[in-house]
């Protein structure tokens, strides 16, 4: 009897197959949902009408106010949002960092929790309470600037945390600078403008809008032009190269050595 029930349950011969099928459907479905939300990026810089602001207020009250406060002034669990502007909201919510899943060293990027309209509504609401940096103009996001200037600015201002190739890097106490490959131009611009989390603010006096455009141009150039030398090994530098030569280079050669000295059967 016990054997019978076990056979029908998770010990069933087909249980593994079913489990894999469920896993594939969940991840595939999740990925499809995620990619459709990111590809359908609409123009978020449209003028905020009163009804949009009201919708944003409702969304804010139900999703953000627990930590940031009903009046946006912040609570012990979350910072004040006075003056952060629409750009900060668009970045934090658009990259899925907000709302946070839990308090930690740093808010992690995850699939966006809101549609673009909802994100825009919340951005409009936050911007309507107090002025702050606006969502950047499309003309600065075309990656059509001076890549060489952008590269130089990137190395001087960004590479110490994000790595010269934008592969990311470690910060203190579990925080880190994320990888920049695959990040939307809007989000790169907004990050520079608003300085999310541990990132410093690069305002327009520090890096002009054209400089920001050039940095985006550089990042998109290296993203769209794969390394002329072949696989980049994650653009992580000598550590990845050293691991590679020890494991695969020397590994292959030791395999050949064993083959050469093997006794014939």
């Amino acid at each position: 009897m016990a054997r019978k029930s076990r056979k029908a349950g998770r010990r069933h011969p087909l249980a593994t197959v079913v489990l894999i099928a469920i896993g594939l459907v969940v991840t595939g479905g999740g990925y499809a949902a995620f990619s459709s939300t990111t590809t359908a990026s609409a123009d978020t810089s449209s003028a905020a009408s009163q009804s949009v602001i009201e919708e944003g207020e409702k969304l804010f009250a139900s999703n953000c106010a627990t930590c940031h406060g009903m009046d946006l002034a912040g609570t012990p669990d979350g910072p004040s949002l006075i003056g952060v502007g629409a750009a900060a909201v668009n970045f934090q919510v658009g990259t899925g960092r907000m709302p946070m899943a839990m308090q930690g060293p740093q808010a992690l990027q995850k699939p966006a929790q809101f549609t673009d309209e909802q994100t825009a509504a919340m951005a409009a609401y936050v911007a309507s309470i107090s002025p702050g940096p606006a969502i950047p103009d499309e003309s600065l996001l075309q990656a059509d600037g001076d890549a060489a200037n952008g590269g130089e600015l990137f190395r001087v201002n960004c590479a110490m945390c994000h790595n010269v190739a934008g592969a990311g890097g470690a910060l203190t106490e579990g925080k880190f600078a994320p990888e920049l490959k695959g990040v939307l131009a809007t989000h790169i611009y907004e990050a520079m403008l608003t300085g999310p989390q541990n990132m410093p603010v690069f305002n327009d006096d520090n890096l002009s809008p054209e400089d920001k455009r050039d940095i985006i141009t550089y990042l998109k150039y290296i993203e769209n032009n794969p390394s002329p030398g072949g696989n980049e090994l994650g653009s992580l530098g000598p550590v990845a190269e050293g691991l590679f030569v020890w494991i695969f280079g020397l590994g292959a050669i030791i395999g050949l050595m064993v083959w050469l000295t093997a006794k014939s059967n």
């Binding site: 060489a148 190395r155 590479a159 010269v164 550089y218 150039y221 696989n231 000598p238 550590v239 020397l250």
Partner: protein
Amino acid sequence: MSTTIEHSETTDASAPPVRKGGGFTGAAANYLDERTSISGVVKEFGRKIFPDHWSFMLGEVALYSFVVIILSGTFLTFFFQASMVETHYDGSWVPLKGVEMSAAMESALHISFDVRGGLLVRQIHHWAALLFIAAIGLHMLRVFFTGAFRKPRELNWMIGFTLFVLAMAEGFTGYSLPDDLLSGNGLRIIDGLIKGLPVIGTWTSFLLFGGEFPGTQIVGRFYTLHILLLPAILVAALALHLVFVVVHKHTQFAGAGRTEKNVIGYPILPVYAAKAGGFFFLVFGVIVLMASFFTINPIWNYGPYDPSPVSAGTQPDWYIGFADGALRLIPPGLEFVWLNHTWSFNIIIPVVALVLLLLLVAIYPFVEGWVTGDKREHHILDRPRNTPTRTAIGAAGVTFYAGLWAAASSDLVATHFQLSIEGVIHVVQAWVVLGPFLAYFVTKRVCIALMKKDREIVLHGYESGRIVRLPGGEYIEVHEQVDDYERWRLVDYEVYEPIMVRPNAQGKITGAARLRARMSNWFFEDRIAPAQQSELGQGGHGHDDTPGEIEGGKGH
């Protein structure tokens, strides 16, 4: 006059058979031999015997990588400009167009993008360099753990160690030549290391860089070192290393018929000439495959050197990683001003530790030779388990080195395993301090356990897995004896006993003698003697006609 005529007569007499059978090859060989007497050399070298074991080829890998390095490096010198003159890039790589840089960086980019095959050769050169030093490291470990450094090979160990240090110096100078951001950061760390040394630091740094860092001299100076001075010393030391291999003859593992006086294996001609020649092309092939499909040192990403930016994930190439790791692990707060000098113990301690580590590696054969007091020649290799203390010391050293090495990638470990970098550093600090002790004790116990197992197998055979029921109803497992060749491997080793403290000729017991006795005791206190012939005979073991020894459950 008459002698020459006689000589020509004898050669004339011997010539016709060669012409008849040898064809062109025979005639050519004869032509050469008559003029150079080379046949004596060919006879000597062609019959040189090398034993067959895969680990004996690690040194060859280093040698072949070095040949690849020389070939590819020569190509690179045709195009590289070792100059720090300022220029503006105007080549094919768009994100650097118009950027100000040194002529060295500009020419390195020119090689990468505008010289046909240049990038491939650059990558071959760099991958081969990484492989070269990795192969040297593994070769040294093989020599260490098998005791191949014992008399008469202590001096060759020192030469090999010199090669290892020279290879690291070659690597570092080469890494610095393109004058890109990564190499400049690396140089800055070296500059900081030098400046951190008390009294001489600042002077030495100014001497090396020709003024304040980075100056306009260093690339040119490193170029001279990299392509002239270091390779010259390296080639000379390498030649000497190989001469000693020929003079000493190759070591071999214990086996039937193998003694301290012979070498069992295959001759160079025709076996090893073919194998080694083919192996060169295999190594070359692996390097070219890596260079074709995997980017190494993408200087176009790093950009030209500028003292202000430092990229995240800046590391030296792997072989300097242990030094970088030592600097990352040293705790803060060790710098103070004393006697109007700044004492940077956060620099001095790692530098001293690294120098001591390298020194210990260099002199180890002499230390062990002194402790054992063994003045005999050794050509039969030890199995690592049969020398538990040496193997344990080696494991401790490897653990220490690996800790320093891992610390150099602490930031990448932190990001890739979602840890905090402080946590990673603290764990590795504990590892570097405690790990060697743990590794020592665990390795020693494992070695002794393996020796016990070997002894057990020799005396009682191995478990065959065949269960037999006796007439009385008892079940037993049949043990089979190992064959003679296998037994040879298991019993052919020597056990040293600790040296007793004895008074010298003057009747005194010196401090050195006491130390030596203590060291000897430490080395050989725990030991398992190999099974003796007399023990083998006992208890009805080893009857060739019976299927195997029968042992009951009791007394096992």
